[in-house]
């Protein structure tokens, strides 16, 4: 057995990134900038404290995989179907245009023809990690411009996979060779997608339905599902080499498809909350490690050229995206926000460049790799600010863009709750309360973590959300903050305190408590009414008992409704029965 210390590099990365990250938050800067800077400072370029190790590389890879997985979990196909056509129409011309500009700039600057080709290929993509992280942090991932950006990023991802496959195959012999590789990759992507969607339709619903009641199990099985796709995409070459096919799939693509399959299930919201923190942790390591691989001399060899290309590319990318989105008739705001997000060069550009360096014989040298990395780092950093302040920026420039206004723009689907009822936990008390409330409110959403309850809720005709209300994600989806009435039939103090903290004075909040002490505490925290269910239950039972000892027939009559319900054995009866048991 070996002496196992805790990975020192990881420790330094985490602590340094936390310090810089907190500082960034404090100064109102995006955390990504903090993380990238951390890498520059502690890496070989700066203090030289940390070198990339297997552990840091693995965590960075996990970060990217988890980021795409999380993104996949958020994609409900019903919600993005109408965007597929415009996305294809945007991404292909975009890549051609940006690639040509990148190539042109590189040829003008002192790069050889071959180097310029690689540079052109490397700068085409926008950064999945930056865009998605920023959109997530700003809560814009499922907005219309967010969906467009994500769609384009995925299209670019497919292209990256193809380029990497081609580069890995060595210097292509000719057009036929390229076409062959291209064909294989397309077939593999299609097969994996079909597999994921088939699974999400036929296998996963029953599989996840059985385990959804157990939070930890659901989480672990979902991760196992993710790793299945990661493993297959990673080892596809190994799997297919016996039949003589050289294949290549990216881990990111696999992770995204794994998430996509889960997204179609009702449990996806709950999983988002759980996967998010792990993603944050690993993505942090990813951003820090971007700058770890370089010596200062390589990184800065072409720094003047890098500045020129970075500025040029950002402008070109914005203009190209703006024109293409406008052409696809998105409204002005969506067009602007969607374009401003995509102006950076991706970390995949670096990956492509690395592949080009490692190819036999190499297409480019270390200095050119440093140049591409520097462009990526600079554009990523700058674009983060553009995304951070995208709306403010839009307000400033909107008057000058009026000639691009659409007369009939594509409409985003809007399903936000406002002035509605939120019920936490569906039980007998909640069920009867809802029967009264449904007359007054149009929107009623019930949160529950029990598969059967959720089904009962849907049968009763209310909206349901599967998930744990302790997660902010779930509370946001149910728009607890904007609810007019909140009823919690959970007697967990923590949950009720969180609800009371999140709601405003205007919201009427009913909660349940187990003891009088807890009830008092909840009143102090601002509850309008605290249901002391056990005490109420006992009081009711004692009332029944009184009848039992006084007059059996009265007793039988009083419990008749209850007995009918009890005998039915149904978790929740159809809504045709009467209200209450003792209103006679």
């Amino acid at each position: 057995m070996v002496d196992v210390g805790l990975a020192g590099d990881v420790a330094i990365i985490l602590v340094a990134a936390a310090l810089v990250g907190v500082l960034a938050v404090r100064l109102g800067q995006p955390t990504i900038i903090g993380y990238i800077l951390t890498g520059v400072v502690i890496g070989p370029v700066g203090l030289g404290l940390v070198e990339p190790s297997i552990i840091t590389d693995t965590m960075a890879e996990l970060g990217l995989a988890f980021l795409l997985f999380l993104l996949g979990i958020k994609m409900r196909i019903d919600e993005i179907r109408h965007l597929i056509a415009p996305i294809v129409k945007i991404s292909i011309p975009q890549m051609v245009a940006v690639g040509s500009v990148g190539f042109g700039l590189a040829v003008v600057l002192p790069f050889s023809f071959e180097e310029a080709v690689i540079i052109g290929l490397a700068v085409v993509y926008s950064s999945t990690a930056v865009v998605i992280k920023m959109l997530n942090d700003k809560g814009e991932a499922t907005s219309l411009h967010g969906k467009i950006d994500v769609g384009v990023l995925l299209a670019q991802d497919i292209v990256v996979v193809i380029i990497l496959a081609v580069l890995a195959a060595g210097r292509p012999e000719g057009v036929a060779d390229v076409a062959m590789t291209l064909g294989i990759v397309m077939v593999l992507v299609t097969i994996t997608t079909v597999a994921a969607i088939t699974a999400s339709r036929y296998v996963l619903p029953s599989l996840f339905g059985r385990i959804a009641g157990d939070t930890r199990l659901l989480f672990l099985v979902a991760i196992s599902w993710l790793f299945l796709f990661v493993l297959v995409s990673d080892q596809i070459n190994l799997l297919l080499s016996p039949i003589g096919v050289d294949a290549y799939l990216s881990i990111e693509m696999g992770a995204f498809l794994a998430g996509l399959a889960i997204a179609q299930l009702p449990y996806s919201k709950d999983l988002q909350g759980r996967v998010n923190p792990l993603t944050d942790l690993f993505v942090m390591v990813f951003f820090v490690s971007v700058a770890l691989d370089f010596e200062a001399s390589d990184l800065l060899a072409y720094w003047q050229e890098a500045v020129v290309v970075a500025v040029g590319l950002m402008i070109v990318k914005f203009v190209v995206f703006f024109l293409l989105l406008n052409w696809q008739q998105f409204d002005l705001e969506t067009t602007f926000l969607g374009s401003i997000g995509m102006i950076q060069v991706s970390e995949f550009g670096i990956v492509v460049a690395v592949a080009a360096v490692e190819s036999e014989p190499p297409f480019i040298g270390q200095a050119e790799l440093g140049f591409i990395t520097l462009v990526a780092l600079m554009t990523m950093s700058v674009s983060v600010y553009f995304i951070q302040y995208n709306r403010q920026l839009f307000e400033r420039v909107e008057p000058y863009l009026s000639r691009w206004e659409q007369s009939d723009p594509v409409q985003p689907a809007d399903t936000e709750y406002r002035n509605h009822v939120v019920v936490i936990g569906y039980d007998e008390i909640a069920r009867r309360a809802l029967r009264i409330l449904e007359d007054q409110y149009d929107q009623i959403v019930v949160l529950d973590r029990n598969v059967e309850h959720v089904e009962a809720v849907e049968n009763a005709g209310y909206d349901s959300l599967f998930g744990d209300v302790q997660y902010e994600k779930i509370r946001k989806d149910a728009a607890v903050k904007y609810a007019d009435f909140v009823l919690s039939s959970s007697d967990q103090m923590e949950i009720n305190e969180i609800l009371l903290k999140e709601t405003t004075e205007e919201t009427t909040v009913f909660v349940e408590a187990a003891t009088a002490e807890e009830a008092e505490q909840l009143y102090d925290s601002g509850a309008e009414y605290v249901i002391l269910a056990p005490q109420l239950g006992v009081a009711q039972f004692v009332e029944y008992l009184e009848s039992y000892f006084e007059n059996r027939s009265t007793f039988d009559r009083e419990i008749a409704t209850d007995m009918e319900l009890l005998r039915s054995g149904q978790l929740f009866p159809d809504s045709t029965d009467q209200l209450g048991g003792d209103d006679d």
Binding site: L14, L220, V275, E428, L566
Partner: protein, 600 residues
């Protein structure tokens, strides 16, 4: 060893674990043994660089201990040691000593070559045997809590199990501190304790002074708060490494440095939980992968040569399994019965705790990493843990059946009463109400019976309720409700009404067997179960939510329709609360007059 990327190895571990977890769910087994088994399978493929994987996986241990220590802050610190805690400690001591003796015996047997061609390579010393003892002694919370269907149960054996478990966890953390001293010699222990105290002191200082600053710096950003807390943990782990003590101590101290504020930082704690769950899963899978089984091909080729190194490992593992699955429930049972618990609760508690706990696994891995534990003994402990956890799931699922079989064969002797006044029922009692359970519900029913001068008998099996029973109840039986003796003494046959307030299927079914002659009311939380109970003859089934909804029905409409002014509503219910908490009988008088009105 084939060189596979760490990510691939991790992926394989999780991919194998997934189906095993699903199978385990189908068989109602808990998560951890499935993870260990997944590791065990993958480990045999020789794909994993265990040392590297362990580097990541030990973060799982760190997070586990860290979260444990964050949470114990809010637990109330008691100065009085309850008798269950004494039971837990004595149990651990007895099992520990038995484990130690067993380990020594195996060691001596090997030393004198009782089995030819069998050896461990290293001698099995007292120190090694001591770890066998620790593994035998500790059962622990995670497996336990995963087993319990309901939390906060009133049922005696459930709360007994969880209390004994938490004592075991404290013992485990204490043992980890000692193990991390690197050796059992006195001097290093003292030095390590010194370092430990230093770290804890630093932690408390941070909690007091620095944590507030961190909170202010993170200024409401959950992500910043999360990474700050993770960084804090890492700093403490690094400090522990630097002081050459175990990371467990670092993690424990770090937990104390963080203020537990689950409401304010629910998102942060949720995040820490997810991260912990991921790494803990990775940890147990990695632990499984560390065990080397003899390869099947080698066994087929030359059975004796392939198996002989494995014999001592298997012997120790088997011994541990017997100790935990057979001996431990017996020891716990005897101790509990001597503390006044009935034999059924005692036995079922024992059957809940009959496994090698995961904290024992953590102690073992720390000892291995620190070079205290030789690999064969470590492997034996891991195997025993996996097997005993699975068996423990089974014995828990069939605990009532096991108890009934053993009791009916007379293996458990007669019910034992260590107090003379275990029942105070007048012999000629009849047409009485039998109230099963003296919890909140039961107490209210007793009050009611006394108000209307209705004779009653309370049946309760929790010794902690005994003083109250003596003081406040005219007639009580302090015994297990299911014993036939209890039925005789409380004269069940002649009762008018039996009300069981225990949410236990076996108790409900027992009393429903009297439904032909007596009215029986039982209790359950679930409506489908209620239908079943009515089928079996229950006159009424108490479903708390249903009753509460009934009681609310009149008021609910007014409440929800906003016929009350919010302030008025709050004021009114606050008044009710005060009434309820005061020991007066106001509410009953009110409801009595209410029914009076109905009648007239």
């Amino acid at each position: 060893m084939t060189d596979v990327a760490l990510l691939t190895a991790m992926a394989i571990l999780f991919v194998v674990a997934g189906p095993l977890l699903l199978i385990a769910k189908g068989l109602r087994l808990s998560i951890i043994p499935s993870l260990i088994l997944a590791g065990l399978f993958v480990g045999q493929l020789n794909l994993i660089d265990e040392a590297l994987m362990l580097e990541l996986a030990r973060l799982g241990v760190a997070f586990l201990v860290f979260m444990f220590s964050v949470q114990i802050q809010t637990e109330q610190v008691r100065t009085v040691v309850s008798n269950t805690e004494v039971v837990a400690i004595v149990q651990a001591l007895v099992l520990g000593v038995l484990g130690l003796l067993f380990g020594l015996m195996v060691g001596i047997a090997l030393e004198y070559g009782v089995l030819t061609d069998v050896g461990l390579g290293d001698p099995l010393t007292v120190e090694q045997a001591l770890f066998v003892g620790i593994a035998a002694a500790l059962s622990s919370t995670i497996v336990g809590t995963a087993l319990f269907a309901q939390s906060q149960s009133d049922i005696v054996h459930d709360y007994l199990s969880s209390e004994i478990d938490s004592v075991n966890d404290f013992l485990a953390v204490f043992l980890l501190l000692i193990v991390s001293a690197g050796t059992f010699a006195l001097e290093p222990v003292a030095a390590q304790l010194g370092y430990g105290v230093m770290l804890l002191g630093a932690a408390i200082a941070i909690n007091r002074y620095l944590f507030g600053i961190i909170e202010r710096l993170a200024s409401g950003s959950d992500e910043a708060m999360l990474i700050s807390i993770v960084a804090l943990l890492i700093v403490f782990l690094a400090a522990a490494e630097f002081l050459e003590t175990s990371i467990v101590i670092g993690a424990f101290a770090a937990g104390l440095a963080v203020r537990d504020n689950p409401v304010e930082y629910s998102e942060v704690f949720n995040g820490l939980n997810s991260i912990q769950e991921f790494f803990v899963a990775l940890f147990f899978a990695t632990v499984g992968a560390l065990v080397t089984l003899p390869s099947p091909t080698a066994v087929v080729a030359d059975p004796s040569a392939a198996l002989s190194p494995f014999v001592p490992i298997a012997t120790i593992a088997l011994g541990l399994v017997v100790l935990t699955v057979v001996i431990k429930p017996i020891v716990i049972g005897i101790l509990l019965v001597h503390n006044g618990y009935d034999r059924r609760s005692a036995m079922i508690t024992g059957l809940n705790l009959d496994h090698v706990g995961e904290f024992a696994v953590i102690v073992a891995i720390e000892a291995l990493v620190l070079g205290l534990l030789i690999e064969p003994v470590f492997e034996a402990i891991i195997l025993a843990a996996a097997v005993s956890m699975i068996l423990s799931n089974l014995t828990h699922n069939y605990d009532e059946e096991i108890y009934r079989t053993m009791a009916s064969r007379g293996w458990l002797g007669q019910p034992y009463h260590d107090v003379d006044d275990w029942n105070s029922v007048p012999e000629d009692i009849s047409d009485h109400v039998v109230i099963v359970g003296y919890g909140r519900h039961g107490q209210r029913l007793v009050e009611f019976c006394e108000e209307i001068d209705q004779p009653y008998v309370v049946i309760e099996n929790n010794p902690q309720a005994l003083p109250d029973l003596r003081d406040k109840c005219n007639a009580y039986v302090f015994a297990d409700a299911i014993e036939s003796e209890t039925a005789d003494v409380s004269n069940l046959e002649a009762a008018q009404l039996i009300i069981s307030t225990a949410e236990s299927k076996s108790v409900s079914e027992h009393f429903l067997s009297f439904a032909d002659t007596t009215d029986v009311v039982v209790r359950t939380r679930e409506l489908p179960m209620a239908a079943e109970l009515i089928e079996q003859g229950a006159m009424y089934v108490i479903v708390p939510d249903l009753l509460a909804a009934d009681q609310l029905a009149d008021r609910f409409e007014a409440l929800l329709n906003g016929e009350y002014d919010p302030d008025e509503l709050r004021a009114e219910s606050m008044r009710e609360l005060d009434v309820e908490r005061a020991p007066s009988h106001h509410s009953t008088v009110e409801s009595a007059s209410h029914t009076g009105e109905l009648d007239s």
